[in-house]
Amino acid sequence: MSGTYLGMPAFPKAAHEAVHNTTLRGNLRHATHTIRAKRANAVAEMSDWAELREAGKQIKDHTLRHLDRYLVRLEESVQAAGGTVHWAADADEANRIVTYLVKATGESEVVKVKSMATQEIGLNEALEAEGIAAYETDLAELIVQLGKDRPSHILVPAIHRNRGEIRDIFAREMSEWGRPAPEGLTDTPAELAEAARLHLREKFLRAKVGISGANFMVAETGTLVVVESEGNGRMCLTLPETLISVVGIEKIVPTWRDLEVFLQTLPRSSTAERMNPYTSTWTGTTDEDGPQTFHLVLIDNGRTDTLADEVGRQALRCIRCSACLNVCPVYERAGGHAYGSVYPGPIGAILSPQLRGTGSEIDSSLPYASSLCGACYEVCPVAIDIPEVLVHLRERVAQGGPVTERGDKVVLKPAKGHAAERAAMRAARWAFGHPGVLRTGQRLASRTRRFHPRTLPGPGRAWSASRDLPALPAEPFRDWWQRTNGGKETGK
């Protein structure tokens, strides 16, 4: 993945620092608890939630199991609708393609709608190195970009910043990038949003090239879908002459009809709304409406390696709703930066080590960044069994074994000094081998407590030394959830 994160400390060290940052912990606690409670209400409105979740899971699984077929069909449909399709095996290739496409337009600046795929490949840095300025246009991404730091949450990337800090960043940095912040800017959210509106509008109105990701791509029709709140997505998708969408190959759904599942589950899981303010769909180009040139860059960058793992491939079902972050006791304390990748929280803990391999210290420590309480699995709208994949990846770190790297099968050696984990793995396997434990939702709760050390072994040791190991629930998650009214009342 991106060079952006190469300098990151491993999870234990980063988390150690994060848990001592009281502003961060306060912000995170407020955010995760607020969104969590709202989401529970939004989901409760849907009597068929379980069926929608099951359908979402099956659609994505089916697509992944026939991904070659759907990729080819998508390519045909996009081309038939007037778009051009490019394939990028890794981050470098994707960056080269996009840079080339931007240069071909003769422009030296682009507007971007928030896209995790372009963060993953480090596109902004690659463009900058070629003299192209890439402006992030989502309010939170603007805060992050102006503040020269990194996003820390999928949905609210600047959750680690409070309003006073945002005011200072705007007042100090906006003039460097374009229209300065108004004189006497205060820290009320309405004024800050207005400053961002004026600053960014200037860029939107002159932009000739837009860059986006996509939430979904429909193989049958060649349609791309972007779900958003602010309208910056619509600006980037419709005002420029050229649109370049950079999308992971796993974002496909087979048919137009499949959107009926995800357009019901994504907004409720994500922002706890019945529907997000804006959803845009486009199929190639339309005469006299929107960009007249459309490029789709399909990126692999570790996804096919993830697909090769029969247990881990379910991570590719993820629709990036961020519900798992908001319920995770580890994320709540450690914050998004501790994960050292664009994908934070529980999904990051399983996706990043698969996309990048477990070779680095941060990636080999990520599978330990969890208490395995199972809350992430409960809320996931596509039913990704994150705890199962975590345990699987811990096993891989501890014991080694066959994996696929850049399309080739290799056998990983066990990490050195991991004898302790091997014992922990055996314990975990015992639990996962017992369907009763797994399926009643008890996870590794009360019945397996005796298997859990007070400190984490191996890579997790330093992390758990900095604080108490997040207590494994003495009661099953479901009971805790009910008793505390979805975490709203203190019961943790």
């Binding site: 509106r197 019945r274 845009s280 199929t283």
Partner: protein
Amino acid sequence: MSSRELILGRVRRALADVRADERGDERGDERRDDAPYERAVERGYLREHGGRSVAETVELLAENLADYRALVHRTDADGLAEVVAGLLRAHGSATVLVPSGLREEWLSAATDVTRVPDRGESTAHELDRVDSVVTGCALAIAETGTLVLDGSPDQGRRRITLVPDHHICVVRVPEQVVSSVPQALELLDPTRPLTWISGPSATSDIELDRVEGVHGPRTLEVVLVTGSGD
């Protein structure tokens, strides 16, 4: 080898276990390919949530629109022109963008407002100087409080409902109202560019305080009009 072949080859090798499971499914022409997909996914979810009369569905749409801070107005075909003119006046609008296929009578009472036609050659800066825009819609979804625009002549290009700060959208009720997202997708044409709008532009990025209007129109007014059906 091209990256296309490289990636597709990696996908096929990664799915060796699936190929062993599902041999047979891979053969066959387009039609036979689609048939298994219909059976591959269980769609036990609902087509709509709860039973409602037509009037109740319209009521729910109004409620959910208002819940997302759209301003909802109701009138019948005879009163529509007055309502639209009143909204433009109240907003202090001197100019209004007009899609080519908008019914003329909708704006017939707005005599003091200058009409700006939706033209391909208008620049974004020109659109930015227009005060309001009036459009119809393709349909509206009651359960989610959503308007869907599909670029038909009464709705215009996507950008005209984006750049001006004030959007007035006319929904013919009950003809244009569906209950749910599945019902909406069934009726919409994926080859057109679609914009789904649920309330005005909003952000919760600053300490989770909701603020209306970062980039899209900050005021969304919806006029539910009866007796104006086709």
